[in-house]
Each structure stands twice: as structure tokens, then as C-alpha cells.
Symmetry: C2
Subunit: 146 residues, 2 copies
Amino acid sequence: MIKPFDDAYFMRQALKEAQIAYEKDEVPVGAVVVANDQIIARGHNLTEQLNDVTAHAEMLSITAAAEHLGGKYLKDCALYVTLEPCVMCAGALNWSQISKLVYGARDEKRGALQYENLFHRKTAIVGGVLAEESAALVKTFFQRKR
Amino acid sequence: MIKPFDDAYFMRQALKEAQIAYEKDEVPVGAVVVANDQIIARGHNLTEQLNDVTAHAEMLSITAAAEHLGGKYLKDCALYVTLEPCVMCAGALNWSQISKLVYGARDEKRGALQYENLFHRKTAIVGGVLAEESAALVKTFFQRKR
């Protein structure tokens, strides 16, 4: 059976958000939140534009998804993000009790997976979806910056 | 020499914010950000009112301080918060490169200090300032909830 809405499909949507961040000269990370195979929130990194270290793609998406749902918990949702979440975003995802996290590229230096147990014990974590494209976008961004 | 603006002075201001949260039926945690002995931002927990798990006192204060300064880094600032920051807030404080963190009560269950190295290596951390009053407010809140 062909599954139209698989992890790669939603990660491609997150990559579109990352591309928008890139075009705004922001570190290119994008995210979407999915419930019942529908995207209920989208976000991309806006730390420069908003002048705010907390304005990561995940944070903006979590806030937007809760707004959409009318409730602060994301228990039946999945978050797709192009880069492994940092400690801040892992903490926010923990509070949200999100069901599933899918990330693209690893972030060895800043990623939260280097620590144990920062994510919620009920959050299923899938990594490496469209990892190369996600990583390439970030790499190109920083190469252009130098 | 009498120092008018010591850690207890600013923590009392953070406690005032926590009291406002309490009156709004929010988990009573408050914070202020200080630069050059002046309070440049205030915040209290608004997770219920904003329907948003990310709306912790520290997060709102970090965002407000950056807005005030016109720059996203808080290198020459101190954050005073009535309760030990959680993982999310520790991550945000790390990104902000804040100089100093002063907290009131420990949060054994949710606090970030149970993990190693979540805070920025340049952030000086002082704990236990007005700890009893800070803890008592949270305790009373949860007792009333039951």
C-alpha cells in the first residue's frame, strides 16, 4: 500500500519551512506539527528577525499548535523538525507531552540527545528522516556566512 | 556599606511577579531581568492564560529583556527567578549567554540542575535566595488545588 502521508512527506514540509528561514537569512531550521495526518502548525527559526533566542522553529510551532488545538498539551501530535532539537526545545517538547518527534539531521554539538532523559518518556523519537537535505541546508548557510 | 540592590532585593521583585501569577491561578513563579542594577524585564508564569507550555516566567522575561535591549544576548544581565529553572528555561538561558542566574527554591523533580552542564559555562549561578518564601508560595498553590 502506498502511504501518502509518511514521515518523509511531513519532513519535506518542515524542509520548506527551513528554506523560508534560509531566505530570511536565519539559521535554516523548520518544523511542522501534525495531528490526524494534518499539519496544524508550521514554524521556522526566527531568532534574528524577532531578536529572541527562544524563537526556534520548534518553540513557535508548539505555541501555534496549542493555539490551534485550544489546549496546551500535544499528546496526540507529532512534531517534524529538520534538525535535532536543542535542550530548550527538548524541554518544551517534554512539557507538551507530544506523542512523537521526528528529526532530520543530528546536531552533535547542540542537540539534546547527548543528554539522557530530556525528552518525555512517552515521546517516540525517530531520527534521520531526510537528514542529508536538512544538514546540507544548514551547512550551505554557514559556508555562505563565512 | 549598605547595598540597596542586592540579590534579596531583586528576588523580592521576582516574588511580586510570582504573587501576581498566584492570583491568576497560575503556578506561582516569577522572574525579573536586571542590568546595571535596573530591572529591564519582568515576567510571571502564564501557561494557563496563554494556553502555552512555553510561557514560563523565565521565557517571557528573556524575550522581554531582549526586546528592551534591542539585542538577543543578555551577556551583562542577571535573571532572578523564584524557582530553579526547568530544562527548557535552562536551555533558553544558555542561548542568551546570561551572566548570572539567581534562583529561590530548588525544584528537585523538574529543575535543570539535576543534569550536568545545561547552563552556559559563563553563567554564574546562585541558589537559595528567599528560598523559603518562594517554596511556600508554590506549596500553598498546590495545596489549594487539591
